[in-house]
Symmetry: C2
Subunit: 567 residues, 2 copies
């Protein structure tokens, strides 16, 4: 897989536009504010326009060189605000890539560094003492281009929907049940601003990630999904990592988390960020742990803080920070069936126990806020005590941490730092609503970002399905983003096909949630596909589906053509 021709082949496959699809743009109040959509041309002359996460990769006209990175879409917007400065940035260290001293000058490393050279940027930060978060602007009444971009993107093109939403009786019958969501018919930039100001939505957009196509995570917007990638396997090349990200956004990942561990993680991150049109999240603790050779007890605040700055300068859009796992909560896990299963959680628990001290993430939380606001990195407050089995669902350990995440949310908001809250995990269906209720209550409607939840534990090899059930339900109830689970969950590292399977399962869950909530227009795509199905327009049916390739491949030409058509 390391051969350049193999990679080129993968990338060219991934760059192919979807069948019958063309990239189009909705232009906003300024010519450099252009929101991409995917227009699908149907055989009957209709055009169905879809939300598009795939970035420039599916635009045949875009010249892409992964060794130089994507265009800096937001650079002018950030510049114009005049509240940031370029600076030399933190000095790069061999340790950042987890390298041992003797490896620093190996020819392979030298080559990797050289390949990444054109992706180096001079970092920006807020001018001294400043705050450059979208929340800060929103609270001062400023509608940023990012907010307008999000509004246009959430609305998409609506003209084509008219015929599908025209039957008033049908619309009444199918009217969604938002369960407390507030879903205006048309989303205005002002609505986005208000949601961000209240903390009910975030726009993850580090000032050092100007390549990002802004998107919103919040219960009053479309439900989003996140895909995890990472180079835990030493065998994968950096170019392969980029290709994994491109593959994930092709199938609809709204966000990607880079959970790389091991070597070259700094360089990997440069490559991913410079080539990613979607927000990138990380767990900085993973890299910090690499820097201390994997010994949790050796972690220090200084080293962790330095890692946050390192990643903020690179452009990471949100950090998972397990600051709610406090020393007094750890004993609450003693009676659990599966203890602490979050990797970040178990690292911090080890540190707290070894030092018998409160977590440095908790005690230094406001210092972390200072870093976040200088770059507009969003918090993804981690649930280090999430249940790892149905048996541990909704226990006191989990909810004690959740309440703490609520306190920390208030603190982050005092600094105008954008914040979302991570949630479980493993939760039987009848206990899901309680998770949403507790989160809304204690975290004041900060966006909820859940892993599944898995509704049962007995489906190894099929956990994408066991968790898509919980994800769809909690998405309906108000969760803003669903972190995908692949068929390899609990078993191994997902390959390319597993990533796709996980994403499609989660697009199903997210869309099911949008339809149930009554997100304006969400159902029109179903309706267009069903009409195509009823009229035996097979190609249109494939092309309107989440995965046209598979639908086409599965189609059996011997099927009767009119058996089910009568009225």
């Amino acid at each position: 897989m390391n051969a350049p021709d193999k990679l080129a082949q993968l990338l060219s496959l991934t760059r192919e536009p979807f069948p019958a699809s063309t990239k189009a743009w909705i232009t906003g109040s300024r010519p450099d504010l252009r929101v991409p959509v995917r227009d699908v041309a149907l055989s009957n002359g209709e055009v169905v326009s879809l939300y598009d996460t795939s970035g420039p990769y599916t635009d045949p006209a875009a010249a892409i060189d992964v060794r130089r990175g994507l265009p800096e879409l937001r650079a002018a917007w950030i510049d114009e605000r005049g509240d940031t400065e370029r600076y030399e940035g933190r000095l790069r260290q061999a340790l950042d890539d987890g390298l041992k001293h003797e490896e620093r000058d190996s020819p392979r490393i030298a080559q990797l560094r050289a390949d990444a050279a054109a992706l180096q940027r001079i970092p920006r930060r807020a001018r001294s003492g400043g705050n450059v978060t979208q929340m800060h602007y929103a609270r001062r009444g400023i509608v940023t281009p990012e907010m307008e971009y999000v509004a246009l993107r959430e609305n998409g093109k609506r003209e084509w929907m008219a015929e599908y939403l025209a039957d008033a009786q049908r619309e009444r019958r199918l009217a969604g049940n938002g369960l407390g969501a507030r879903l205006p018919a048309v989303i205005t930039p002002e609505f986005v601003r208000d949601e961000v100001a209240r903390g009910r939505a975030i726009i993850p957009a580090n000032i050092n990630h100007p390549e990002v196509e802004p998107m919103a995570i919040g219960r009053n917007f479309r439900v989003k999904i996140n895909a995890n990638i990472g180079n835990s396997a030493v065998t994968s090349s950096i170019e392969e990592e980029v290709e994994k990200m491109v593959w994930a956004i092709r199938w609809g990942a709204d966000n990607v988390m880079d959970l790389s561990t091991g070597r070259h993680i700094h360089t990997t991150r440069d490559w991913i960020l410079r080539n990613s049109p979607v927000p990138i999240g990380t767990v900085p603790l993973y890299q910090a742990l690499e820097k201390v050779g994997g010994v949790a007890e050796d972690l220090t605040w200084a080293l962790y803080r330095d890692t946050l700055i390192e990643q903020a300068e690179q452009g990471v859009d949100y950090f998972t920070i397990h600051a709610g796992l406090r020393l007094p909560f750890i004993h609450l896990t003693a009676q659990r069936r599966t203890g602490i299963v979050s990797r970040g959680g178990s690292i911090m628990a080890k540190w707290c126990i070894a030092h018998h001290q409160e977590s440095f993430l908790y005690t230094h939380f406001e210092e972390i806020c200072e870093i976040m606001k200088a770059y507009d990195v969003s918090f993804s407050l981690g649930d280090g005590l999430r249940p790892g089995s149905a048996a541990d669902a909704n226990d006191e350990a989990q909810f004690a941490e959740l309440r703490t995440l609520g306190e920390l949310t208030q603190l982050a908001w005092q600094h105008d730092v954008q914040t979302m809250i991570e949630g479980p995990g493993h939760v039987p269906m009848h206990m899901i609503q309680a998770n949403m209720d507790e989160q809304l209550k204690h975290c004041h409607e900060a966006p909820f970002y859940t892993l599944g939840p898995l509704t049962i534990d007995i489906a190894p090899g099929y956990d994408h399905i066991a968790s898509a059930i919980g994800a769809a339900m909690i998405g309906w109830m108000g969760t803003a983003m669903l972190c995908y689970v692949t068929p390899k969950e609990h078993l191994g590292l997902p390959d390319r096909e597993d990533v796709k399977q996980g994403i499609v399962a989660y697009k199903i869950a997210a869309h099911a949630a949008d339809v149930a909530k009554g997100h304006p227009g969400a159902r029109a795509r179903d309706d267009a596909l069903s009409k195509a199905r009823f009229e035996f327009r097979w190609t249109d049916q494939f092309n309107l589906g989440l995965d046209p390739d598979t639908a086409r491949e599965f189609h059996d030409e011997t099927l009767p053509k009119d058996a089910s058509k009568v009225a």
Copy 2:
């Protein structure tokens, strides 16, 4: 696939016991009442005992000859009741197998007939005017061996669960929410009798299918799943059809519907019934339509009635009968996005429109009841007007038919005929509860048997997932049996792998529903698997899963062995 050695190979693969598993039996009040379970031996010495649908096929000691059929488990029970008689039965006709005149003597047909010769049985029926349904017995206070069998089967072995259910605080926290279900800690034969007498559960068990291992379908029992098979493809051999059934029950199908169309359907059915330990359902209308060359208008009550008797004599356990699709309802589908998508529904609608007459299934309903009670065939009252798209969900056509099914249920119950009700189809999440509510209200708690429902329409190729979400939810709400959907839904005929994928997705949905309802002991298997996971007993984790083969295949030996283990 027609070569005998290929089939032998398939069957021997399908007959292999699950890893670390042995077939065991729970013996009831008489020595010939032996309920099979699958005991899984764990590496720590524990034994986990599971509900087992796979019949004698996974018992290495069982001598199986598919050309002679399975042992007649229930023959003595039926005989002892002394209320049935053997009789010559209906004369076999070439038409039954959909054959044209000139094909009757072709060598291939002669061979198929010869192969099936040893599977012919002399049929039984109730003695003149009698009623041999389980409901009839139940209402007279008789606890049949079938009822006792069901009670033992639903309970299974419980001893091994003790350690998993011992933590009182955990049990309180995880206590299910039955949403109106009545789930006793231990199911007694008397409880089964009472549920059957009330019509809240059925035990599909035609007196001409003595090979069946009795099972119950009802909201107060474990949620069951149904898999469809059928030989629409003229290329499949009869032996392959048997193998499909064996494959389906291996993965957990509680029921199988034989939806064969085309030629040899009578002979196919003989082979399936004589070799099936699970109840077999059919849609007799499909065969009736074959007999009139596919011209719906040419159907007659006489021909349909004859087909019911033909299939009842063979031993079909339940009939899907679309008797609720009445002439006055058809115009209600005119404004639909996808009209009538049920095959049976569209056939009957064509007939009603062509003759401008009320459906003969409705007008002759009590005559049908007379046939059902003479053999103990259960009704599966079909939802011919189920929605074929989200746009048509919960419309007046659907609910008008549902109310009629409620009337027919009352009529069937007057004849002590066991009855369940079929349900949709395509229903967004927020409209699922209304389906359950309407069904409970109008059909008086007769078991609900739904196809999915699919929560969105845009997932061709992944409809097993889009529908498993709806299936899990409606299962929790009170649906008794979930008809599976495979990845090929809407696209083509499922192959062996599709059948497995559909079944596993539905086992997930059914189990998620059992856990949410709080079915006694359902969660213990999750707990045992999670304990194995936490203790890195990989093999036990695989073997306790729904699909040990896939879990093992996906396992990546390079995974860290202790990263997530701390407390």
